[in-house]
Symmetry: C2
Subunit: 455 residues, 2 copies
């Protein structure tokens, strides 16, 4: 009668390598282009702000990249993370489907983000970098990098979108506790910030502006690099430890997933859980459905165009081949702040174009509804981002019930919701506003693009 | 080179019984007395608000009490909890001491409190109880009981001290997410609350008032019981799973603690980690020092009297033989809200009187200083309550350095600080007020007592 039992991977069986899906993709990603020349960029273009090891990983075709011993050491603070079977949620849904979830909220920062923050801080430290800069919106990424930098003795400057800085003081304090300096962006510290403030002294900031500030600081200060928490190939690769562990854990259960689900912002969460299962599709002839669950208010995968676009709002980053809503698209202020990004990383975009993965969009009301059902049956309060994966799992489990097929579903519960209780308040009080995008709103920013198409 | 390695107890070795220290104490606790007659109370006096199984456990002399299967099932959501060695903190302190810690923040409610919330909800459910009531101050206990009641389908009313209700909205929302009803106490729902409000409509509330409201509701509504999160014997016993696990984990390391430390409010945290080690002192002739770390602003163990006193401010509960500052003592508003209680439970008090345990008091500034050192070396942000145990471990580690003795220290890291970041803000901004109690303040409330002395 073990209904809440964890499936624990012994520490000695923790994967010692990340899986690089670029080794197995039927079609490689198109190269990133220089924002000025629109020619493919080389390593030297990135070396001003990234360490060489990460630049190498970004374009590597090696299937396995060894995880450094120092990174494994820190991973072991919380890894291997548990897999659970959601018996009580299954019962509530009265479904023949088996629902499993991998729980990444056990990390000290409370989400999957430290899986890449730790190696990024490590490689920068190894290459003599004394300071990193980054941006953060909702705060999960900034917290994770603060934690990682503190352990490797690296200074960190976090440019936090002003509106979040003011609304989420606890996330800022968490970063401070780990020694990071957090600035309300736009700041007076950068040209980019000063320019914005000159135009609008009361600017609420945006992720695009914060990226510009962090990149400018990294490019102009000696011994300083920049770090990003999603979208890029090496970032998604660091997250594959999630799925590689999950494969071993699912083998321990005697079940194996027919469907694997991750929520989708820039791709680090979805890529982390799904790429290792896609490996089995590619190399062992399996046919596992991998579903990216994105917010209906920011539907780049289900409604965007596949084409070259910038990673930031201002247009300073390389052009990436991506499913995008246009880099000037401003998503509605939904409560899953970590999913409010206009585009998808290059790998996920190529996989979707090649129909090797699926995407589904969910409205936030059904996500919170699924999240509260989950908290009340399984006992863990999920982050608003993670509720998108739960909503997708619920939908697939109910479909299995309708069809009478006993599917096995695995989703990634990427973080806990302890810093997001005000979002639950909005849900309970009936104040969650659902924004239904019109066709016009959807295409307005895409129409502005003059970047080359990918196809 | 494994410096952050967890010591993980395999699930199948999880203890199947709680340890009841009442079987081994050289001197038994004196009996609780009826608040009116001041005669020893019997089971029937408690049966109006507690289930019979918990009343039996309260006075049992059996050494081991079997943990029900249904409780073990839920424990396995997060148990066994990890033990870590704090290599990096040791290095920072440059101490020959080995510092280990048991981490209870991995529970869904973020502290050790679910260890007793789950069995309390279970036994009430088994005896047909449909509704529980409780009080909460800082919110850790209310959250834990909300979680437990939700899983057993029991309704829960939480009377939350008004000042906390207003200052800690996220804790309230956490309880709501788990389905509990949370009321700002004093309320209009009880005679006790109405009486207070008639006298002072703007009363900020107190733990004492909240207890009165919760007890009154339980005593007057059919099918409703009351639940307490510390102080009582059965509550501390449920927490012994912490120390019983830790003994097995320490045996896995090849080291064994000379010193065991827990922070001290009512005793559930300290009792949970230390009673099993005291078992080894009692039954195997070991000589492990067990230290309760209390706040200097609420120093019942180091400066209180040992005598009979009430568990609540209003004087409705039985009289308990305890180290107390007087039940009307109002501690300064320190940030470790969970430690602001005037007295110690009967067992801990008897052990201290018999010099079988030690107590030390710490000011909150040194506690936060130790907590931030810990977060920056070991990566986990501790609850303000838990920083008292860290401060004590740091003190003992520095003493070991001074004396050149390589002691092994184990402390209980009872919870994370994610809901307490505003306290860290007060610390970082230099706004933590240190309250130094005068001798007069210390004895004022004790002088008011007319209850029988214990000796």
């Amino acid at each position: 009668m073990e209904t809440y039992k964890k499936i624990i991977l012994p520490e000695k069986e923790m994967p010692a390598s990340w899986y690089n899906i670029q080794a197995d993709m039927p079609n490689s990603c198109l190269p990133p282009l220089h924002p000025g020349t629109k020619k493919p960029i080389g390593p030297e273009d990135l070396s001003a702000i990234f360490p060489m090891e990460l630049i190498k990983q970004e374009v590597s075709k090696e299937r396995w990249i060894e995880i450094p011993e120092e990174v494994l050491d820190i991973y072991k603070i919380w890894r291997p993370s548990p897999v659970y079977r959601a018996h009580h949620l299954e019962k509530l849904l009265d479904t023949p489907a088996k629902i499993y979830y991998k729980y990444e909220g056990v990390s000290p920062a409370g989400s999957h983000k430290p899986n890449t923050a730790v190696p990024q801080a490590y490689y920068n430290m190894k290459e003599g970098i004394k300071r990193l800069t980054t941006e953060t919106g909702a705060g999960q990424w900034g917290s994770a990098l603060s934690f990682a930098c503190q352990l490797f003795g690296i200074e960190l400057e976090v440019y936090m979108v002003k509106v979040s800085y003011e609304q989420k003081p606890y996330r800022k304090l968490m970063m401070n506790t780990w020694g990071a300096k957090v600035f309300s962006s736009p700041t007076n510290k950068t040209q980019a910030g000063r320019k914005i403030l000159a135009g609008d002294p009361d600017s609420p900031g945006s992720l695009g502006i914060a990226i510009s500030e962090a990149v400018e600081r990294a490019a102009t200060i000696e011994g300083t690099n920049y770090s990003l928490g999603s979208v890029l190939n090496h970032v998604l690769m660091h997250q594959t430890i999630i799925g590689e562990e999950a494969i071993k854990q699912m083998q321990m259960t005697g079940d194996f997933p027919d469907i694997v689900i991750g929520c989708f912002g820039g791709g680090s969460n979805f890529g982390g859980i799904s790429f290792p299962f896609l490996r089995l599709n590619f190399t062992e002839g399996k046919n596992i459905r991998c579903i990216a669950a994105e917010p209906a208010s920011c539907p780049k995968l289900t409604k965007g165009d596949f084409r070259y676009d910038f990673g930031d709002t201002v247009g300073l980053t390389p052009l990436i081949p991506m499913y995008t809503l246009g880099h000037t698209f401003v998503p509605a202020p939904i409560h899953a702040g970590g999913l409010r990004y206009h585009g998808a990383g290059a790998i996920v975009s190529q996989l979707l174009k090649d129909k090797l993965i699926e995407a589904q969009a969910f409205h936030q009301l059904e996500c919170f509804d699924a999240g509260v059902k989950f908290a009340r049956t399984e006992g863990i309060i999920p982050a608003p981002e993670s509720t998108h994966a739960i909503a997708c799992a619920v939908k697939e489990a109910l479909k299995a019930k309708e069809e009478g097929t006993p599917k096995t579903i695995l989703f990634n519960l990427s973080g806990h919701g302890f810093f997001d209780m005000s979002s639950y308040e909005a849900y309970f009080s009936g104040n969650l506003v659902e924004h239904h995008l019109t066709e016009e709103e959807l295409h307005a920013d895409l129409k502005k693009l003059d970047t080359p198409l990918a196809v």
